[in-house]
Subunit: 108 residues, 2 copies
DNA sequence: TTATTAGTTGCAATATTGTGCAACTATGCA
DNA sequence: TGCATAGTTGCACAATATTGCAACTAATAA
């Protein structure tokens, strides 16, 4: 496995490595959503949301369709949603480890 | 789905969003590896490798076992490896889109 | 004890990301 | 035309991440 492959994969992972962008992806699990529908769920400036959407588009994770004044997003590759099953497993394993460490005393 | 969940997931994704760390994860697909075995595959300083390993450990992605002077790493949750199937699909979709755009002329 | 190998940590420099504000473009409607 | 809604972009600044060097710790062997 060469360096460019790791780099290309890292670019996709980077696009997913942000809470705001994970929220967007999560909102798209049921199908298309307009950016304007995401706005109210998002505490930050619309320009910030726009840039997060641009990052997902650039990584090839979402595609856009314009309808009048609105832009609708959808997941290009819905398998993205399966990734979170494994991520949850990592978080659960971490939580169990935290409990074990707390019960046994010294973290080590 | 609340904000903390996205934040926790993003922390795991962030740990995977780096070419060097993806290389480490990839090397662990066959089982345990010593950090010293990864060193020669890695062009950068050993302190840099050490910090990448620490990031994976902190995210709960790898665990360590010391054997004498060496530290052996393994994947806590091997489902991580499945994530790359989907990431590859994203990259393939992107590649196909690039070809289409090139053939049709204007990218829209 | 001293030396060696393996790995970690403090520090400083640089690079990359995330953000808001203001000004912009694009579309549709009165 | 003028106005409203939806979204994007330039700019500056703040926050994080990545890196190497040098100095450190940990385990083991001479």
């Amino acid at each position: 496995m060469n360096h460019e492959v790791y780099h290309a994969r890292a670019a996709v992972m980077k696009a997913l490595a942000n809470p705001a962008r994970l929220m967007i992806v999560d909102q798209l699990k049921g199908g298309e959503r307009c950016i304007c529908e995401l706005q109210p769920l998002f505490r930050k400036d619309k320009s910030t949301l726009s840039r997060h959407v641009a990052a997902l588009r650039k990584a090839g994770i979402v595609s856009e369709r314009r309808e009048g004044v609105r832009v609708y997003l959808k997941l290009v590759t819905p398998c993205i949603l399966n990734i979170f099953d494994c991520v949850s497993r990592v978080l659960e394993a971490e939580a169990r480890r935290a409990v074990r460490v707390t019960r046994k005393g010294k973290p080590r």
